[in-house]
Amino acid sequence: MNLLLLDPFEVAKEYPETLTNSLQYGHSRFLKFNKKGDYLASGLLDGSICIFDADTNQVIAVLKQHTGVVQSLEWSNCGRYLLSSSTDCKVLLWDLKTKTVIREIIFESAVWTAQLHPTNTFVFVCTIFNDDPVYVDWSNENDIRILKIPTTPYQPEQSLTSDKNEDGDKHIEEPEPKKQKKSKDLAFCVKFAYNGKLMFMGTNKGWLNIISNFDNSSWLKTIYSQKICSSHAKQIVISEKTSKIFVNCSDRIIRQLSIHEDFITKYLKNPSEPTKDEGKSEDSEASGASATENNENDEFEIELKYQDVVNRLQWNSITINHNGEYLIASTYGSGAHDIYMWETTMGSLTKVLEGPKEELFDIDWNNKRCCIGANGLDSGYVYLWTNIIPQKWSALAPDFVEIEENVEYSEQEDEFDILPNEEINQRQLNEEDEHVDIITKDEVDARGLQEEESFVIPMILKKDIDLSDGEDVD
């Protein structure tokens, strides 16, 4: 609500520009703002997770259970639960009301990332080091369902395609790429999209696989694949609003893919029947995979490629803002200390966020407060970039207005009229006729973001904290 009273030009700024704060607690490795932007979770090298209160910039909770580096953190939409994964092979679900672990799972090897289902807090997908990614449903504590997700690119089944595919003459080409593969495909990242109905997976061979999460015959099966590069696909970011997918590949290029309009109708509206079009695209895909990147039949068109042509920098981590209009990336290497920001319609470099004199590792965007957070690789500090809105001095005096240039004052007709008190009172009363609504709250803020109720982490105040801090108080 404060945004309405601030300088509209400052509020309209879409990204932060100045490094304003650094938070220190342990050695931060992964960071994530909650949806409302009032808490920041930071995963540490030693496996602890600390939660900062964005109002006071203080640690309000430290969650200890992991024994390895925290690899990923995910807030539930309501802000009450936190999913964490670590190299100690564990994935934990925390309830921040009690600050305890309510679900725990141990895999056989280290976990890369874990991602929560957008609407169901008790479903997540995670990618595991040297193993297939898994889909876990642990809504029932005693009956945890763990299902492996295939990583091989989509191959239309013979029976399925022969039934309905009319141009079956191309089928002979299909088994070929399958045979060529000697090593197994490994997934580095899996992301839920479209309300959790689909999963996007990036593999070490540069495939982008789409996995269905519809409760039908194709559940947890790859329903479409597209080769987008010949290196690892490290990270996927999806902007549903603008129908864009950003894939951070280890060949130092971030690829921006656009999702065709008919993709949604094809895979979301009628998901139970993979159509023949799909088979067709797969056919041409298989035949032309090695040659071209932009195949006409591909569902995703590579729109833009982001890379640093001069320094050939590798990108550590990427993220986008709430409407997908800006993409930011942190850079790999001890000589690189900056965050690059591009706007995503033309792909031009908008801003380079500078500040800390060290390599930045993980980044996250706090949309609600227009703030970008990043952690330093060497120091483990969390750096925050925000916009400093200058004080409007006219706000301090009710009858002052700030103007850019001198304005010649023109007196109003009735400005110095002397009116009898009754008339003034009557005028005032007439003005007070309007209906006043004191209950309805605005649904969106001045930046157009939803105003949502979010979980408030309960404070536990102990007297001993007071005593230990007491000496600082004069």
Binding site: L5, P398, V436, I438, I439, V456, V473
Partner: protein
């Protein structure tokens, strides 16, 4: 204006607690957000917690060295903050039954305290003309806002915790950004040549309006976005009517102030299916309620004492009302269904 309505008995008194025998003055009453308890603060530096349902005394907090002016429950009802003339704010734990934090920093009597909705920040206003924002967890002052030129009488925070409003005896209402501490806006009533001290302010439930009580005895509802007073609520003199039966009163032309000397607090009453009302204590032992839109007095609750009703507080949007007079009379009222 003529008398065109009757005083309906909107509220029934559930019980009342008589003034204490030692003659100490009461200053504030607040119902806990969970509706379990209410707390009463006094000028002899004690705070008493009672069960709301029965009025039974649960616990008494002693610790301040001077009178307590204002109290505020934390949103989770576990803690109670108190502002005292001994220049400190203390935070009391209900479960711990003791003081767990003391906020030191103000250089003169602290007049008002308010939590934000998350309970992680505490806002205080003081007679030293400063407003302070405190980090509750650490008990430290985060910001000091010194833009008023007279004692602060009242502070409030909007429901989303982003705007802080303050009223001061310098006649100004200022709005601040909680996060940056910047002054966002200043409101001053322009119709008069001299401005009257602001005694109490309160945000509307949706935070779009601000209700201010000033010592000219008038309550005003501001739309702070366009600096306009949208409603003015006044008290009118009542004459006992000889003709009416049942001790009815007639609404006269003469105006009487709501409060010119004391800070009598206001509340919004927004019970479902009923028109919204503004409630305020008066200097003469009554609680007045106006219809929000028509500005007409909807009901008058009489405490039976000729002592200012310093504080009223509501639970469940106004279904339950608690009041305290300076003399120490506590009353709990129920809305008639």
């Amino acid at each position: 204006m003529t008398a065109d309505y009757s005083f309906s008995n909107l509220y029934n008194s559930r019980y009342s607690l008589p003034p204490r025998s030692n003659g100490s003055k009461s200053t504030c009453i607040k119902i806990s957000p969970d509706g379990q308890y209410f707390a009463v603060s006094t000028s002899d530096s004690t705070i008493a917690i009672h069960t709301l349902a029965s009025g039974k005394l649960k616990i008494k907090f002693h610790g301040h060295t001077k009178g307590v002016s204002d109290i505020c429950w934390s949103p989770d009802s576990h803690y109670l903050a108190s502002a005292s003339d001994d220049r400190t704010i203390k935070l009391w734990g209900l479960a711990e039954a003791q003081c767990i934090r003391t906020f030191v920093g103000h250089s003169y009597s602290v007049s008002c305290v308010q939590f934000n909705y998350k309970g992680n920040l505490l806002i205080s206003g003081s007679a030293d003309e400063a407003i302070r924002i405190w980090d509750v967890q650490r008990g430290k002052c985060l910001k000091t806002l010194s833009t008023h030129s007279d004692p602060i009488s009242s502070v409030d925070v909007s429901w989303d915790g982003t705007i802080l409003a303050s009223g001061s005896y310098d006649g100004l209402i200022r709005l601040f950004d909680v996060l940056s501490g910047q002054c966002l806006k200043t409101l001053m009533y322009e119709m008069t040549d001299s401005s009257f001290p602001i005694s109490y302010i309160k945000f509307s439930p949706n935070g779009k309006y601000l209700l201010s009580s000033s010592l000219d005895g008038v309550i005003r509802l501001w739309n702070y976005n366009n600096n306009k007073v949208v409603k003015t609520y006044r008290n009118h003199r009542y004459k006992p009517s000889p003709s009416a039966t049942g001790g009815g009163q007639v609404y006269g032309d003469e105006e009487l102030s709501v409060a010119e000397k004391y800070t009598c607090s206001t509340e919004f009453i927004t019970v479902n299916n009923k028109p919204s009302m503004i409630a305020s204590g008066t200097e003469h032992g009554n609680i007045l309620m106006w219809d929000l839109d028509t500005k007409k007095i909807a009901t008058i609750l009489s405490t039976g004492e000729d002592s200012p009703v310093l504080q009223i507080d509501t639970a469940q949007s106004g279904k339950v009302l608690a009041s305290v007079t300076l003399s120490g009379l506590v009353q709990v009222w129920d809305l008639q269904e």
